[in-house]
């Protein structure tokens, strides 16, 4: 895994709450500037290819909230990933399981309104976790401050999975 700072690549402050249109604008600019077709010499082209890869990799990290949070933890020397992070607390897992059960019921009964209600509750929970990450991962926030909220990163992955399921159900009920 590369330890290159994706925020530095984009010239953006290392914050969790990035501005997505701004991110896309910088990506377009950087991609144009480093496009290998713009370089004449073969040595220069090799550099440009590497630089283009760096830009794309940074974009892949920065636009994904989970990867972005992981990068901000890693920049503080905090390891992430399933075996490095604390196990989700039982109360949280119980809640997720109950929500998944409700979602499965709503799917079986084709209850679109209930699916939407569950979706909106989950989006609120996701926003709450994102707000906690924003506060804990501000530029200058210490590793200890960040680590106190690493649980919010774990939560985010469960919310994402739930919302993927929701969008699959919406497609199914529409189709």
């Amino acid at each position: 895994m590369s330890l290159r700072d994706p925020f530095a690549t984009f010239g953006l402050p290392p914050r969790f709450d990035v501005n997505l249109p701004e991110l896309e604008r910088v990506h377009r600019e950087l991609s144009r500037a480093v496009h290998p077709d713009r370089v004449a010499s073969s040595a220069g082209r090799k550099d440009a290819v590497e630089r283009a890869m760096e830009v794309n990799e940074a974009f892949r990290v920065l636009r994904d909230p989970v990867k972005r949070a992981e990068a901000l933890f890693q920049l503080r020397g905090i390891e992430v990933g399933e075996t490095n992070e604390p196990k989700p607390p039982p109360d949280f897992l119980m809640e997720v399981l109950e929500q998944r059960e409700s979602l499965a019921e709503a799917r079986a009964t084709k209850d679109e309104a209930r699916v939407s209600a569950l979706e909106s509750a989950m989006r609120d929970a996701q926003k709450n976790a994102e707000a906690r990450l924003t506060a804990a991962l501000l530029p200058g926030a210490s590793a200890d401050t960040a680590k106190a909220e690493i649980g919010a990163l774990g939560e985010l992955r469960f919310y994402r999975r739930f919302l993927e399921e929701v969008s699959a159900i919406h497609d199914e009920l529409l189709g």
């Binding site: 990933g81 399933e82 992070e85 196990k87 989700p88 039982p90 949280f92 897992l93 119980m94 997720v96 399981l97 998944r100 059960e101 499965a104 990163l153 774990g154 992955r157 469960f158 919310y159 994402r160 999975r161 739930f162």
Partner: protein
Amino acid sequence: MAYSDKVIEHTENPRNVGTLDKADPSVGTGLVGAPACGDVMRLQIKVGAGGVIEDAKFKTFGCGSAIASSSLATEWIKGKTIDEAETIKNVDIVNELNLPPVKIHCSVLAEDAIKSAIADYRAKQAARAQAK
């Protein structure tokens, strides 16, 4: 990625899906989650005389391998004592289901679920013994 026949079989006909009464003192509930993929798994055991697992139920929200791993786990632990059930290792599940390397964490989840159900049952028993 292709699932093995055994995984498909368990996914299509999962054994012991359901719920046991969480409040029952003879029931242990294990709840585990895999943050990497957002899977959640609940495994429950009903323990009778001599510490024998009389019944086991599970509910898993996750991929086919996670469902198959928990389905197989409940099949295996029924009729065993909790001490025997505790010795089940995730590699046993991997071998039985031919799980590919990327799905090994599903079997780890099932092993953790068994252990967490047993721990919950023991904690309940200890609390009751103390209350007496």
